[in-house]
Chain length 382, copies 2
């Protein structure tokens, strides 16, 4: 940053450009959700607001397909939701099995280690699904595994994990499961109770098509019990379930102040969930599947192929191989400049090798598919 600007910056309002969001998130936010966020701010303990919080928890339970009492949005991005799961369930000296087949599995490892855990890694190639056989072997490799952690929908690669099987394996081996559902919630089936998952976190800005900044989480009774039985304090004051639930899920006593909730962001999440329920969860999953298939077909006509094998492909996050000799960054730049379309670059092991095309929530329509395929055809020519 150049010196002269430092304390003499422009004090003019910011007007964002007109974009079509087809990257790995944020997805397009509907006008109804934007309008909800702009409603007048009220107090975080206002009786009307507290009523909205209760409705929001109900809506989140429906989205997560769970009866878990402890289901609420963490006041921060998906990475803070991830941290909420790890800091509450993991204590120093615990052993944690982490599945890593992309960037977010790597982030889980980082979190577990910063909680003082011993991590057993189960590595799979970026773009491959998590291999349940390897997970089972890892779960058997140590006497007491506290947690099995895996990413349901790897946003960095577009691969889907078999969450039902992995959560079952965790239970069979007496471990709790932590599941990253940031990109899956609303786009593909997330069945928290059927799976028997213990701690699941998501993000507002993917298939829920809300503004980024909130992380819905849900904890099973078993997980809440484990938090209550901890021998050491939770390392984060803000994320300590023992404290935050006095605000989000008071039992017995009155609701008390913990932190100032992000009031307007919560209006937006509420409206986004109302819209999801109006459409219906199954209808939303079917829509994501349908347009994904159309996108893959369209890309195929351009000679483009997918990174992930068909059975494990996420409909909402399409990892597309960059053809030999194509400058992937130049194509993305031309898409943005000519058409105002944002798609994502590859991360980590797949940097430079793939594009990530999101069909998430409001960004998953026939219009988006058509536009993206045609615009790619044009911009790949130069």
């Amino acid at each position: 940053m150049s010196e002269p600007r430092r304390n003499a910056g422009p004090a003019v309002s910011f007007q964002p450009p007109d974009r079509i969001l087809m990257g790995p998130g944020p997805s397009q936010v509907h006008a109804r959700v934007l309008a909800a966020t702009a409603r007048p701010t009220v107090g975080h303990l206002d009786p009307a607001f507290v009523g909205m919080m209760e409705d929001l928890k109900v809506l989140l339970r429906r989205a997560f397909r769970t009866e878990n009492d402890v289901t609420f949005p963490v006041s921060g991005p998906g990475s803070l939701g991830m941290e909420a799961c790890f800091v509450n369930l993991v204590e120093p000296g615990d052993t944690v099995v982490v599945c890593r087949n992309g960037a977010f599995g790597g982030r889980m490892k980082e979190n577990a280690e910063r909680c003082g855990a011993k991590v057993i890694l189960v590595d799979d190639a970026w773009g491959d699904p998590v291999d349940p056989a390897k997970v089972e072997k890892a779960l058997k490799s140590a006497p007491k595994i506290k947690v099995l952690a895996f990413v349901h929908a790897e946003t960095s690669t577009g691969a889907l994990a078999d969450a039902a099987t992995l959560c079952r394996l965790a239970r069979e081996h007496g471990a709790l499961s932590i599941v990253d559902a940031v990109t899956s919630l609303g786009g593909v089936p997330v069945e928290v109770d059927t799976w028997g998952a213990d701690a699941v976190y998501s993000g507002s800005q993917k298939c829920l098509s809300c503004q980024p900044g909130l992380s819905p989480v849900t904890f099973s009774a078993r997980a809440v019990e484990a938090v209550k039985k901890r021998k050491t304090p939770v390392r984060s004051w803000l994320l300590d379930l023992n404290l935050v639930l006095a605000y989000w899920s008071p039992t017995g006593g009155a609701r008390t102040y913990h932190h100032t909730a992000p009031v307007n962001a919560l209006y937006g999440l509420h409206e986004a969930l109302v819209m999801l329920m109006e459409e219906g969860l199954e209808a939303s999953w079917a829509r994501h599947r349908l347009h994904h298939e159309k996108l893959v077909a369209g890309l195929g006509r351009l000679g483009l192929s997918m990174q992930v094998a068909a059975p494990y492909r996420l409909p909402q996050l399409n990892a597309v191989r960059v053809p030999e000799g194509v400058d992937e960054a130049a194509v993305r730049r031309r898409l943005l400049e000519r058409y105002g379309i944002e798609i994502g670059a590859g991360l980590g092991a797949l940097a430079g090798k793939i594009w990530r095309i999101g069909l998430m929530g409001q960004s998953c329509t026939a219009r988006h598919v058509l536009l993206c395929v045609d615009a790619l055809a044009d911009t790949m020519r130069g």
Copy 2:
């Protein structure tokens, strides 16, 4: 929560009630800021958005009166900003002096302990300012103090600390200072560079009159150096300055993804800061002082007195003694029901003993003062 609602909640949009916000925050949010937040979401790596981020850092430096490079909004509430300061600067085994004269000093102690620090407490009565003589004694009481932590504007009591003196004492004793400026920023002078403060955090929803959910922070070069020299990893992945700065303040290399920034909330903070600069910082401080004096005079005519001695009173957070025999909760309920006015209750040691009347940012006008005094006169009668 009653059973039948659980998974069959109402899926209708939420319409907040019409409120006048005169509690301890959130304060009234201006229509311009609400409108900014509702602008279309763009990607967190979009070149236009990145330009806005740079402007936002410039605006925050002006608000904090600092040249600190590392000045940005943490993606969460003020409590997360507090946590960002502690987890980066405090390592297990460090000794930290914490000044506690209200609820938020207590929260600082919690944070320091969860970082593994040995805490030396400097207690003052709730409503009294921090006593620098006690602080000096505490700083001399142990061979190596890593951090002195104090609250500049105690939101729970309305007392102002002498930040210049406390930061100077910290430097003289080779300690870093952590300063809570959640309620002070924009309302009274916050002079980060003049004080020589090392880590300062604030909140969006007080005198900046932005929606709640963001925590502006600033770190001195000395503080950043201390983070780089740590012997142990920062306990929080999301808050680790070594990682988050690759997104907010890349030096040398390209800006890289760390977490998905709360795009729309940042639009709002940017607009709120633009409005603050249009008014001018000094003008904003003077406005808070002026209306505070009018409020104290008006309350005096009702026979109400202030909890905090005049020299230490925060203009933006007025702790008013509840008269003998008055049901304080009933008055607050009547204010809300009859007039839609929110004021705050006392916390902790002052619960039931005070009301907290906020005159923060857009909630600090002649209209607010007049309305509040008249409405209190009415509702105290029954």
